[in-house]
Amino acid sequence: MADTEILGTDSAVENPAVGIDQSVGDFTYDVKYEFDAGSGLNEGTVRYISSVKKEAPWILDFRLKAYQTFLDKPMPTHWATKDLESIDFSKIRYYLSQGQKPKRTWDEVPDDIKKTFERLGIPEQERKFLAGVEAQFDSEAAYSNVKDIVAKQGVIFLTSSEALREHPELFRKWFGKVIPTSDNKFSALNSAVFSGGSFIYVPKGVKVAMPLQAYFRINAENFGQFERTLIIADEGAEVTYMEGCTAPKFSTSTLHSAVVELVALKGAKIQYITVQNWANNVFNLVTKRGLAMEDAEIKWIDCNIGSRLTMKYPGVILKGRRARGEVISIALANDGQHQDTGAKMIHAADETTSSIVAKSISVGQGRSTYRGQVHIPKHLKGCKNNTECDALLINSNSRTDTYPAITVRGDRHAVQHEASVSKVSEEMIFYMQQRGLTEAQAMSLAVNGFVNDLVSQFPMEYSVELKRLIDLEMEGSVG
């Protein structure tokens, strides 16, 4: 994530790889890796990762079982796109790092990695508005720090590997409990080879005023990034976590397959914001789910731009009475991209409320798919769901599909579903061009207008970032 100021200094950055264009994340520096699991996946790869991390035996067991589950599970191509079959697991590199311990100050971060994050604007944002930052470079975090004021409140913000060593009792209690290893083929893969990601624990009643942020950067070609994040908000606690992601554009494919578990205990609130801007060679197959106990609230804000294929359906299991779940999803699919996104709301207690608002934009030959699952069983009462999905088509060959699966049993619930498809008309573009905007600026403005009611709810820094990303996408989409 870089703001325009950072973009403006691009030319001043030393030694970017030759032949790349100037879009935000698309650059790479040569980095020497101390630890490399090589290409391909077998039991040895799993053991290598675990031994490099000096993990406890139970974690290795967990990984090996997950590896078996991964092998046993078929690709979900009976419902998902056949493009998944293009992933060659034998060509991917599963672990690359310079070391396992993240630095606490930017000065200690090796120069080749530091300049990547500086170019993406991370240290600057940290100074400006964040309570803590973790910056992951390929498999491991290069930097992780939380401001004193937050640490003093007892907030734990570590990489997952560190937390497994330092807080095994907290970690193990919820690890793999919200998303079981066998949830899907990619959650199993993550469970086998996970590395990096964040662990956050917010103690009872603590409200973290500023957001915590993680930045996930893929630098290497043919690489697979498998971070594992677990966030626990204890009773009455509140926290906002934001993640950004970029990767350079390689001709080969890259795999990003994360697992993110959230636990909001009684009365707690977790807000999880993603602004992803993957290069269009990245398969982004992420499983994200939260568990909301009594009176707790979990809100996912999920913005998907870029990638070759994204499959991501953030969900909330509404486990406690009056728990609330919300998903706001924005997806933009450009040429050669498929955004298969949506949400899952599993009502498991009385008077639980869920809301899904999904907006997708298809540009050129881009394809967007909304998949939603809302489940309200018969024995509950007073549950509410509101689902809204709107699609915007920019060109006549763009494509959008909607698969809302809403299962409501019993007659004591309130459910609403609305969907719309609109197209940016030639007349609207001409109108804006007549006021002096180029065709690309006009389309960008139309798209920003389409998502405006959602974006206006984001923290300012992220709404500015999203707008800039949309501008960049639309600029490239007009011939």
Binding site: F430, Q433, Q434, R435, G436, L437, E439, L445, G449, N452
Partner: protein, 254 residues
């Protein structure tokens, strides 16, 4: 002084290029002048204004349009706009989710040199100045462009955009159609406020009544794709009294 010259212009629909709608039209507008084009429906008045602005649905099949002697026909619609052409639309598009303030800001930004950033404070000061001048409520610009606007609000929005963008030539396409007398006044007051040596206006109208409020320097009668008669304000009154049939008969007699 700036000049907009329409020279022997032929215009057709892009998908029907062999059926001309405008058939050899000549007209020169200088900055500071207000020209009115009147004529019966279906005579090519709106086609003329859209073609000058570069609407992709219309093809110029002959002749030329020049600003200060330079042809604008190779320019994209946005380049023409930045060169000083403003089209006040008969049916302005709605742009959901984009406020008038942000839309105008983007339009003003588009006129700056590359790399030059708009000064937000100065922009709002100027915007509010223009709104005061046009007696427009401050709340107006936080609404999405034309989204759910009444006919009068749409015209008000067009006039405000025109005031902010300060074009050299404004083409006003049947701006008065479907307006009640109050809305008509909004348009007329706006144009009269902006009237001056730097602005040339082409008023396209079916009815004479707009010309009671905006007094043109010249009145042209358009019929069957051409200008067939030119005069002063008196011509408009004559048309009002005698109807377009009078022009048709006169033409038939020639």
């Amino acid at each position: 002084m700036h000049t907009l010259e329409i020279r022997d212009l032929f215009v057709a629909l892009t998908d029907q290029p062999d059926k001309p709608i405008v058939k050899g039209l000549n007209l020169t507008i200088k900055a500071g002048e207000i020209h009115a084009i009147m004529g019966p429906n279906g005579t090519g008045k709106s086609t003329l204004s859209k073609a000058i602005a570069g609407h992709p649905g219309y093809a110029i099949t002959g002749g030329d349009v020049l600003i200060d002697g330079k042809s604008i026909l190779e320019m994209e619609p946005d380049e023409r706009a930045r060169a000083g052409i403003f089209l006040a639309f008969q049916y302005p598009s709605e742009i959901p989710g984009v406020s008038i303030a942000n839309f105008l800001r983007a339009a003003v930004q588009a006129r700056l040199a590359e790399g030059e950033e708009l000064d937000a404070t100065a922009y709002y000061k100027r915007l509010y100045g223009k709104m005061d001048m046009l007696k427009i409520d401050r709340k107006f610009t936080s609404r999405a462009v034309n989204d759910g606007f009444s006919g009068g609000e749409k015209k008000r929005c067009e006039i405000l955009q025109m005031a902010m963008l300060e074009p050299t030539f404004a083409l006003m396409d049947e701006t008065d159609s479907g307006l009640d007398i109050d809305a008509l006044r909004i348009v007329a007051d706006g144009v009269n406020t902006m009237r001056g040596p730097k602005l040339g206006v082409l008023l396209i109208t079916h009815y004479q009544r707009l010309l009671d409020y905006i007094v043109p320097d010249q009145v042209h009668v358009m019929y069957d794709g051409r200008i067939v008669k030119t005069g002063d304000k008196g011509l408009a009154l004559e048309l009002e009294a005698k109807g377009y049939d009078w022009v048709k008969k006169e033409l038939a007699a020639v």
